[in-house]
Amino acid sequence: MAYSINGTQYVNSSGQFTGSHLFKTLNGYDALGSGNVDTFPSGTNGSWGSSHNVVGSLCSAFNLSYSNMNYGDGVSGSSLYHFKWSLGYEFLPCEYWRNSTSDLHYSYLSGTWRALNFHTSNSSANHNSLFIRIS
C-alpha cells in the first residue's frame, strides 16, 4: 500500500518517496528516484572543462577587444585569438606576446570568458592571457 493525499502519491508501496514535485531538481535530475547525481561542473568524465570550449574550460588567448584588461573582466569568445607563427605553421598556446595581429589565429571560441590574470598592459603589442569560460 502506498501513501497518497488526494490521489497524489508521496510514498510508494516499497516505502520510497516518489513525489518529485516536492523538491527542486539537482543539475537537471529529480531529487527523488534512484541512482547517483554528481554536482561537479559541466563536462564529462567528472572533469571541469573536458573540452577546450565549454563552460569551465581554461584557455590561453590574446584578447583583441581592448587593452588594459584586468582580472575578472569578461570578454566574448569571438574576441579571443590564439598565437600562430611562421605564416600559420606553428601554434604555440603558451607564447607570451606578439606585435602583429597577423601572427594571431581566430579561435572560433564561443560564449563569455573571464580574464584570470591580474592585469594585461596596454601597449602596441598583444599579450597572451589566461581565461576561463563563464557562460
Binding site: Q16, N36, T39, G46, S47, S51, N53, P93
Partner: protein, 129 residues
C-alpha cells in the same frame, strides 16, 4: 512512535526520515542525514579534473588539435636532467622529462604545433579519466 508504509519505516521515533525512503544519492552520499553534499575539485596533482601544462610526443609532427587525447605516459615537460633546467611554458627543443602523470588527458588548447622536427609546443591538458 514511527511512521511506516507496508511495514517499512519512513520516519523513525526521533522524527528522522530513513535513508531507504530516498534512494537517490548525491555525489555518492545519501541525502538523508547531516553534513554537506558539495562536490569539491580533487586537489591532488594529476587527479581526474585537474589541469597541467605539458608537451607531448604524440601526433603527426607533434601537431595536436583541440580535444585530442593522450595517455599520461606520453606527456612531458620541457626540461633537462643533464643541465638542470625546467621551462614549462615554452617549446621544448629536444630535452623533455616525464610529466609523471597517468590516465587519459585532453588537449584543451586550441592547437599546438611546431615546425621544427624536435620541438614540441607546451599546451594545457585536462585529465579526463
Amino acid at each position: 512512535m514511527t511512521y511506516q508504509v507496508n511495514g517499512t519505516t519512513i520516519i523513525d521515533s526521533s522524527r528522522n526520515f530513513q535513508s531507504s525512503a530516498f534512494a537517490r544519492t548525491i555525489n555518492g552520499q545519501n541525502i538523508i542525514g547531516s553534513g554537506d553534499l558539495r562536490w569539491n575539485r580533487n586537489l591532488t596533482w594529476g587527479a581526474v579534473g585537474t589541469y597541467g601544462v605539458f608537451v607531448t610526443t604524440r601526433g603527426s609532427n607533434y601537431d595536436v588539435s583541440s580535444n585530442a587525447t593522450a595517455s599520461g605516459s606520453n606527456l612531458y615537460y620541457n626540461g633537462s636532467s643533464n643541465y638542470g633546467y625546467s621551462y614549462p611554458m615554452i617549446r621544448a627543443s629536444g630535452w623533455v622529462q616525464s610529466g609523471g602523470v597517468s590516465g587519459t588527458w585532453r588537449h584543451t588548447s586550441y592547437r599546438s604545433k611546431s615546425i621544427y622536427g624536435s620541438d614540441r609546443a607546451a599546451a594545457f591538458w585536462c585529465r579526463i579519466s
